[in-house]
Symmetry: C2
């Protein structure tokens, strides 16, 4: 009797696929599209135009967010779309107050530089979105949240990043405004007690996406070399085998390509 | 005197770009590649093969993670690559203990179902990666972290999601293991006190990517309709204008396409 336990028949093409060698990777052009999206994504604060985001584009962006991974499949997020000038103005007032408080936390030259930075586009962007996390969405016990209570918040952040990437591919800029008093934001958007506002985002088409992050261009902080953040087996530990050597060479090359503008759009 | 404040001269092509109408969106094939990645990404637990991940593939995956957004450009993450059987075995022991504790938290039928679920692939996957967050990386005061202390953790989760998507496009499966005692994991991987282990991931090529999340297929929880999680101006508030109506129709269509397998790979 013939056995076929290592093969799968592809009904559409009548070809036999060996799962141990079959390749689920995307082709080079597809992978390049993803990497272009990831490497040209920016935190946008000052380049918003007033052009509205069409419904079908916004639907794709929100759907990408909703299909993020979530702990125990709880999908704890809500997406509050804020279009009204009055709501935006109230949030902008919260920003202004928090921003003044924040400036006082920096010292000397850093404080002067901080004050010159544009850190939000709440009023200029045609759409704001608050992404929230409902910790009680599927009851008190959640698969995978039993030992790390923040897993539902982390899931919500995965949705933020999906949204951010989908928006970039659609030509829509996104800025994350985190200089806000969370309690007052909860009151403003009428969140129930159990719901946490995870991200307050400004969305809109933009006049340009900058080549590099603004804080990098402004000399606030440098981009870290990959070699500084990749370790082996333990925190901050190196390795000297051929795999590690080859990996570090590849990372150096990949990072140089990005910084040289290989993924500029 | 002629002014040119609304135009930019593209030096490479000598064409004049009007920023108010120029389109920074990707073309349809490129956008589709991103959406294919997002919608076919899975939390992989049981389909890992032993095929090693080549250095150049792993480099691209880690570089995608490193180019995530981070609050105040602090890049608080480290990526600890775990290849050794001994380290993996110690982490797997932590999982087993936590998993037993977790099972006791569910009641009745849910507990029985919980015990049948495969929730990690620590030993079977050729590579584990712990992604950590160093809260002190760039000093005590960080732009954008002044009012939300968790922003550095959130940045680290953005890196996790970038890694997850890059891996999917490379044909590499990723599973996030969160059923672990964090304190003991910190000891095992020798993390300094200031460093938080955010995500413990299992990576490897896979025999297949499932069509849908396992907890959805198992009937543990349903995928929520988009209409349940999109609100206007305030939490849980609807809107009745044409934009809202068109958006909800578009979301319904987009979600049906996904559930019908439009993005199956």
């Amino acid at each position: 009797m013939e056995t076929c336990d290592q093969t799968i028949l592809n009904a559409e093409t009548d070809t036999v696929i060996d799962p141990s060698t079959s390749d689920h990777s995307f082709n080079e052009a597809e992978r390049d599209a993803l990497y272009q999206t990831i490497f040209s994504r920016r935190d946008v604060r000052g380049q918003f135009t007033s052009k509205p985001i069409p419904e079908d584009v916004l639907s794709r962006i929100l759907t990408a967010a909703h299909y993020a991974p979530s702990v125990g499949f709880m999908q704890p997020w809500n997406f509050i779309l804020i279009r009204g000038e009055e709501t935006k103005q109230r949030v902008h007032n919260l920003f202004k107050k928090a921003h003044d408080e924040a400036a006082d936390m920096f010292e000397g030259e850093k404080r002067d530089t901080y004050k010159t930075l544009k850190l939000e586009g709440i009023m200029e962007s045609p759409l704001n979105i608050c992404i929230t996390c409902d910790k009680d969405r599927t009851g008190p016990v959640v698969i995978g949240r039993t030992h790390i209570k923040a897993m539902d918040l982390y899931s919500t952040v995965c949705a933020v990043q999906n949204l951010w990437l989908a928006a970039r591919a659609e030509g829509v800029g996104v800025g994350w405004v985190s200089i806000l008093d969370q309690k007052k934001l909860k009151q403003t958007l009428k969140l129930p007690k159990r719901v946490t506002p995870v991200a307050y985002l400004c969305l809109g088409y933009v006049s340009e996406f900058f080549d590099k992050p603004e804080l990098q261009s402004a000399g606030w902080l440098p981009r870290l070399p990959m070699g500084d953040v990749v370790n082996f087996e333990e925190y901050d530990k190196d390795a000297n085998d051929p795999f590690a050597t080859n990996l570090f060479e590849a990372m150096k090359r990949d990072q140089k390509n990005i910084e040289d503008g290989r993924y500029r759009r």
